[in-house]
């Protein structure tokens, strides 16, 4: 299991992005597939493990789980989850910024 200072896996990154508003498991799979144009299709086991690990770390919480009803469990990101996501986004921006130097130097 990864800790806070490690880059997020692609799956965790997109799951955190999908739960910015309350969403159920199948919704996450669809949202991630749409966001990536069908490139990232999360397997149900991958999603199940990721959701449990994100719940354990407190980066997401259950939004609704009405026992005995047919309503599906929904998940939503927490403040801590948003911080983690923001830190990862900053890391990725740095990568892109520095990566673009390659193209700039080639143009120059």
């Amino acid at each position: 299991m990864e800790n806070k200072n490690q880059p997020l896996t692609e799956a965790l990154f997109y799951i955190l992005l999908a739960v910015r508003k309350p969403i159920h498991g199948y919704g996450i799979i669809q949202e991630v597939s749409e966001l990536t144009g069908g490139r990232v299709n999360l397997g149900p086991g991958t999603l199940y493990g990721a959701i449990n690990s994100l719940l354990e770390r407190g980066w997401i919480v259950l939004y609704s789980a009405e026992l005995g009803s047919r309503r599906k469990k929904e998940y939503v990101i927490t403040g801590e989850g948003r911080e983690i996501f923001a830190a990862e986004l900053a890391r990725l921006r740095e990568l892109v910024r520095n990566g673009e130097k390659m193209e700039e130097e080639e143009r120059a």
Partner: protein, 179 residues
Amino acid sequence: MIRWKFTFDKDEEQDWLNEYAQRGWAMTSFFAGVVTFVPCRPGEYIYQIDLLPGKGLWADDYEGYVIFMNEMGVEVLQRWGRWVYLRKRAEEGPFEVYTDAASKIDLYRRIRALFLWALVVIGGCSVNAFSLWARFPEDMFARGLGGLYIVLLAVLLRAVWQCTRKMKSLEIDREGEGR
């Protein structure tokens, strides 16, 4: 139709189930190596085998897992200890339980921990059998029992080694996923 399958390699067993499904035989139940099939349209289902998180033979939150899988359109056909047999209709698209290197590594780590646990338990049980064999080296029963334990321990050791090998090759893939 009933077939017998004994293996410690879940990938081999999964491929075997999918081959039968391709030929028009859908697995419906598993009990102690005895696998039952019923006729289906060739290629109607895709099968996957998963190991639930947990300790030793005991799974964490099996009910939660079943509800989650059902919501994903996945049928949990059979549970055998912590092992579960899953299937999905092929017309609904590709079906793979784990789709990235990180979660596949976690799966093989769980499988390896289960086999290591079994090695310790069976290793402990084998002590009496081996001491019996040492005391009565000519006795057929003591020989048979000792031999059986040796085979079982060797098969389990091989299964642990296979998991380690699969995890190592997945680690190389994970480099490509940015971690």
